[in-house]
């Protein structure tokens, strides 16, 4: 896969002296869904703003579809659709007018059939003549997406697309995003919801304090950093561990009812086989056992804490 966005040595220092981005390097592959995770104030929105032309970079270079965002901004920007985090809308405009305006702004000839399709795909068709101020929050969000899609972009930025959106709508939004990806659009989304990244993304980048801490395939990331936890539900309660098991990192939980063992899936030896046989030797019996994989959320929290 070739990269469609390339960010090299990008830094941004605001007038106040605050360094929002520090030497960021990032490549986005054509056709992927890339999730950018990071706590509040990590630099996610600043990064997007620079790529889209809303903020000036202090240092570094960004190309979009091979076009430099500063020297060849027309070509670069015409490839991008942006859905910002905040619901910025022209309250007194109709849905149809505002979406058509966006298309004109990006220099595309009128195409009512295409706008109609976008509005129908986003379930906004019935509301096309309504003023935006009469719409619900979820609908306004979809109007923003329709505006971003109005000029048939190859890249779509979704800055916190499902913030404050109920579960039902969020799932609907995911559907929309998947359909877009199938039509060949590259999608970059920032999110607070780890679940969302886990559900949607092909690759995940983590940004913290203005630095890209990690970029990885989601599956690799989950595997690489993923820890597994084996939980044994004991037949009879245990107060202390027998001496023969002391070299395992075992925790007694639920006032002795369960034993918990954390292991790394990457390790050559997980130690499970010997643990089980040692338990048997020690005469500890169990009714049930289960294993769970740590979620992206655990990984994320770990990363942000240590970086």
């Amino acid at each position: 896969m070739s990269s469609i966005i390339s960010v090299a040595n990008l830094s941004k220092t605001y007038g106040s002296g605050f360094k929002a981005l520090k030497n960021v390097n990032l490549d986005i592959q054509r056709g992927e869904i890339f999730a950018l995770l990071g706590p509040n104030g990590a630099g996610k929105t600043t990064l997007i703003s620079i790529i889209c032309g809303i903020a000036n970079p202090s240092e570094g270079k960004v190309t979009v579809g091979g076009e430099d965002i500063q020297t060849s901004y027309r070509k670069a920007r015409s490839l991008i659709g942006l859905v910002p985090q905040e619901l910025h809308t022209d309250a007194f405009e109709s849905v149809w007018a505002t979406v058509s305006f966006s298309r004109g702004l990006f220099g595309k000839p009128k195409n009512p059939a295409y706008i109609e399709k976008v509005l129908k795909d986003l379930s906004l068709w019935e509301k096309k003549d309504n003023k935006i101020l009469t719409l619900s929050g979820g609908m306004k969000r979809r109007v923003m997406i329709a505006k971003a899609l109005s000029h048939e972009p190859q890249i779509l930025f979704l800055d916190e697309p499902t913030a404050g959106v109920d579960v039902e709508l969020r799932k609907g939004m995911w559907e929309v995003v998947r359909t877009l990806q199938q039509s060949g659009v590259t999608i970059i989304l920032t999110t607070h919801y780890i679940e969302e990244a886990e559900e949607m993304a092909d690759r995940i980048g983590v940004i913290n304090k203005g630095e890209i801490v990690l970029v990885e395939d989601k599956a690799t990331l989950m595997q690489k950093l993923g820890k597994k936890r084996l939980t044994l539900h004991l037949q009879s309660k245990l107060t202390t561990l027998p001496e023969s098991l002391s070299h395992y990192e075992l925790d007694i939980c639920d006032s002795g009812a369960t034993l918990v063992y954390d292991y790394d899936t990457n390790g050559d030896r997980t130690g499970i086989t010997s643990l089980l046989s040692d338990l048997r030797t020690a005469g500890i019996r169990f009714n049930d056992l289960d294993t769970t994989q740590s979620s992206l959320e655990d990984i994320f929290v770990d990363l942000v804490r240590t970086s």
Binding site: I54, H88, T89, A91, R103, G104, L105, F106, G107
Partner: protein, 253 residues
Amino acid sequence: MNYRAIRAIYLFEMARTWRTLLQSIVSPVVSTSLYFVVFGAAIGSRIDHVEGVSYGTFIVPGLVMLSVLTQSIANASFGIYFPKFVGTIYEILSAPISYFEIVLGYVGAAATKSIILGLIILATAGLFVPLHILHPIWMLTFLVLTAVTFSLFGFIIGIWADGFEKLQMIPMLVVTPLTFLGGSFYSIDMLPPAWHSVALLNPVVYLISGFRWSFYEIADVSVSVSMGMTLAFLAICLGIIWWIFRTGYRLKN
């Protein structure tokens, strides 16, 4: 050139005008009519002719300019300030459109609006006093140049303002006094010599003088000086806007 983008911004801004017709057109017309009633009829009937023209007729160009100046600034400053205020500016900044095209769209619409308004006020004036325009082409030239220049000035204020108070401050505290003192209602020749010299520092004097000349061939300063000053102010505004976009002042930082 991204003509479609210029058109989109222009039409968007014009649509705003039609939506707010009462505020945009009707209220300036009403206030101008009041000026005519108060200054033209009530006070003007007690004032003799000014430089050979009846007082009511004399104030027509000044009144048109007064509205064109204030409305150009108000339209253009609000036009660009509002997207900044509600956040929709993100779309303009992320569009494949040059700064020049952005200015063309916003300032073009603001100037169009105030030119239309100026002509409406002129027509309204015709209901109160007989109008005669000796140099209609020059009249239109001054009208257009003033509308464009002050729309540019308004655009600058709209970018600079970071609150509604600042948005109002320059028009209220600077432009309105300058316009009133700029000879809308009198010839600056009527002033004592010292104040006459001070008045010549007021750029609005030149605009009104040139505009009035195109009506009656009476002027406080020569018409070429008027034109020169108007163009100079236009150039200054263009220079400031060029700087704003080059540095991203209040927009991209």
